[in-house]
Symmetry: C2
Subunit: 524 residues, 2 copies
């Protein structure tokens, strides 16, 4: 069981939009019907349908429900509650229950990350989150990153195994949120934010073409799919909505991030960055949106350094170095002896090493030093020193350099300047747990006024909650998907030049980091 | 295998409307797509959907098809044909084939009678009937008439047996029309005309409430159901449309009859009569429609007389008596030795007995005669005399009397008169094989100008063909269903009075049968 992950499971309060006009994917409608009589001997199914059509227009009644309708109506003395599912074209009756159960109305907002999966149980009657559960994606045992999953899918039986793995993960989390003997069929809708490959694997679609020119997925916008066709353990006719993706490398998780940020509705230009197993950068405003993406590597997920680990108990999560004594102060998750360093601890360490002159602007140790001891062996769980090495730093700098290079390239291409960048949205782990000042110091975040820096938390999960609850938000998400221009980095030779020139702390152009520059000047 | 049945399998030419604006339940659309390229790297499914949505608005793509789309498109060099199914709310992609197959477009028009089932293979590209096949409904072995089927359905496993029986019948007929190795999945739509009980049994819905006050079916208008959910052996996503019924005793077969007659669009008042295992009478015009129904018994299906049989080889189908010599002339189906008498033979026999004064206006044999020998033993297949007895005649008179009484009652209730009745539509066996003059002579048909008498043939099957091919006809059928006022005969004490007073030849009121009156006067 997962106690804490690098991936934020909490939806950032500051962006959790209160949906005022609830229009969830399913609706519950109480019907007070009249028993058939010689004066009104309409057929049972027709009476139910007509009652619903007065409110909702055309309603489809599936054959599987027809035989149950007379039984339920008679049992409940014709006081029944219908559940209607959006079909993209109208409404479909998916459940009929005795009595008024309109307030018992549940849905799921799901974030499927390459590494971590989070499921939120949402009250569709009032829009609140009733609970959440998170776990590693079982697919990780079949391949760490997206490319290895795509390769695994090409093996005999691989696609089926990968689909089963993510379904097992999801169904386990659903059961954790909704323990026996409660029926998971009471959950009648779900919305999912995930990258394009995760959606393909969930739906059992071959992801091979995603990593093969011209990089066309099988589907970007799957529409509403009944849960039973996917294998999700909720009501078999529950509509499942996947946030639309834009292409192979820009998924519904990013569209969700833009949706949650609101950058697509502002006159000012914003920058959105999400760095997880993959990294995505979006720039734009109410008039235009450009985006790029690439594999980011596990730099911020604890997988890149020798002592890297996830933000689990024993992970060093905060580090400072006394400028006078050079003494290291640190804290660990759970306040137990240190076992390794997680992303936020690494960012703090690098920032402190830089501010204290232990590494230079090219991120190299000075004076022949090879490693920096963060936790001496005497204090660590294993008895070994926990260190950060030059190799660890170089790996991290590759990720940071790629983010900087990609951002610069996007700006150049749209012809905009750092001065015009009014908001910075940080999503995912990158936007939740990193220490802001340290992230700025080493150039991972831009050096903007602190009020312009917004951390979105799990924006993919929050976007799933919003589209689960609001038809308008679904329309908005699809409008965003239609509006974003994707910028292919790998096809661009300028990117590699910029990338090579970006491995400086905090940035090649120090003037872009005025607050860091001031601190460095103070230090000197 | 059925050679000939009382139920007409041929759609009467005179009413087979040429559908000029073909809008079948499924559409085939040829798409010439472009292979994905760096300049257009839309997802495969999205490209197909967008191509269709330009022509048809919102199109749903089921998950089961998504994985096949990239394979088919590449195999066919992006020249593909989509099959779209009407969902009542929009369109759903149900099939994608390589190349242009728009002209290979098949559907079924189905008439499920209590006794006989007829399936027509219809070309949805041009509306023509490519072939038909008919057989007894396998359900007859589980119960002869509707009531016995409903009782059988209440037994353990009875409903499942009945559903399987009719599906076996249908799937056998489909295979007969479309022999191996052709794939029945090429048939992508079906429309069905049948009475309410037949529809319930086909859909696996309990028909118990149909014969229990207040006589409410489970459903009158089931909407479009995927064939796979029913178990019909055509494309599993093929939409199946059942002509809507009005109530327990007035089914889609009757709505279909009205639709085919066109009586609902005429300023003149018409009378529509269908007598099969059940009998239904409809009266009205473009402004109003009233109807009544009841069990008719097998009087016209050969099951009521001692030597009654279906119109199979050896059935006496035409009879005349020489007024001079009293000698009987007859013909048999297939011109083989007589085995029994079918409906048309019985109607002829009664007419001749009446015209020759061998039975009187109360349909009783004169001069102490008990039986009338139609075929002497020396000529019959068995060597026995084939006769019509007083009991046989009385049974027949009960059916005829009920039809007369019901017609009179309907007329009285709407305050209309025989003079106003401008068209008479005879449907089913009643409207195809009966000898017109004999049927008028014994009062089964009204004595209208012969040009006002229209025989509709299998109007239930023809209506199924029309709604299969035309969206407007579906709308029209539903408008008819909404417009008909059902008149409950059994709850009406006047009916029993009229019924008792109706057992005269040709009718209690001889003035209503002027041509018969003239013939009788000539005779005397």
């Amino acid at each position: 069981m997962l106690n804490q992950t690098e991936k934020p499971v909490i939806l950032a309060e500051q962006v959790q939009t209160s949906i005022t006009n609830l229009e969830p994917l399913t609706r519950k409608v109480f019907l007070s019907l009249t028993p058939p009589s010689p004066l009104d001997n309409r057929a049972d199914v027709d009476q139910v349908r007509q009652g619903l059509e007065r409110l909702y227009g055309s309603v489809i009644v599936p054959l599987a429900l027809m035989s149950r309708i007379p039984v339920i109506c008679r049992k409940a003395d014709w006081q029944v509650t219908a559940t209607l599912a959006d079909t993209d074209q109208g409404w479909k009756l998916i459940e009929l229950e005795p009595n008024d159960t309109t307030k018992e109305h549940l849905g799921l907002a799901i974030d499927i990350g390459t590494t971590t999966v989070v499921v939120y149980l949402v009250d569709l009657f009032d829009g609140t989150v009733l609970g959440h559960a998170a776990d590693y994606n079982d697919q990780t045992t079949l391949g760490e990153d997206i490319l290895s999953r795509i390769l695994h899918a090409a093996q005999p039986g691989g696609l089926v195994r990968l689909q089963k793995a993510v379904l097992d993960t999801l169904n386990r989390l659903i059961r954790r949120l909704y323990p026996l003997p409660m029926k998971t069929s009471k959950i009648t809708a779900a919305a999912i934010g995930a990258n394009t490959t995760m959606i393909h694997l969930l739906l059992g679609l071959d992801p091979a073409s995603i990593c093969r020119a011209p990089y066309t997925p099988i589907v970007n916008n799957p529409g509403l799919i009944p849960a039973g066709e996917i294998g999700l353990d909720i009501h078999s006719l529950a509509p499942v909505y996947c946030l639309p993706s834009i292409g192979s490398y820009l998924g519904g998780d990013v569209i969700g991030g833009i949706l949650v940020s609101g950058m697509h509705q502002q006159p000012d230009i914003s920058l959105f960055v999400d760095i997880g197993t993959n990294g995505e950068i979006v720039m734009g405003n109410e008039e235009w949106l450009v985006a790029c993406a690439g594999a980011a590597g596990p730099a911020l997920e604890g997988g890149v350094t020798t002592y890297g680990m996830r933000a689990e108990p024993g992970a060093v999560d905060h580090v400072s170095i006394d400028p006078e004594t050079g003494q290291v102060q640190y804290s660990t998750v759970g306040n137990i002896p240190a076992r390794g360093i997680c992303g936020s601890g690494l960012v703090d360490t690098l920032s402190e090493l830089f501010l204290n002159g232990l590494i230079d602007r090219t991120a190299r140790f000075q004076n022949g030093v090879e490693v920096f001891v963060v936790v001496p062996g005497i204090e660590s769980a294993s008895g070994e020193d926990i260190v950060v090495s030059q190799v660890d730093i170089n790996n991290f700098m590759a990720t940071k350099g790629a983010v900087n290079a990609a951002t610069d390239l996007l700006m150049e291409n749209v012809g905009c300047d750092w001065q015009e960048m009014k908001h910075f949205y940080a999503a995912g782990a990158f936007g939740q747990y990193l220490p802001i000042e340290s992230a700025i110091t080493i150039g991972l975040y831009p050096d903007l006024p602190r009020s312009a820096i917004v951390r979105l938390g799990n924006s993919s999960g929050e976007a799933a909650r919003q589209v689960l609850l609001s038809r308008l938000k679904r329309v908005e998400a699809e409008a965003i998907a239609a509006k974003v221009t994707y910028f292919e980095l790998n096809a661009n030779s300028t990117f590699m030049e910029k990338f090579s020139g970006s491995k400086f702390l905090p940035h090649t152009d120090l003037d872009r980091y005025p607050s860091v520059k001031r601190r460095l000047e103070t230090r000197i």
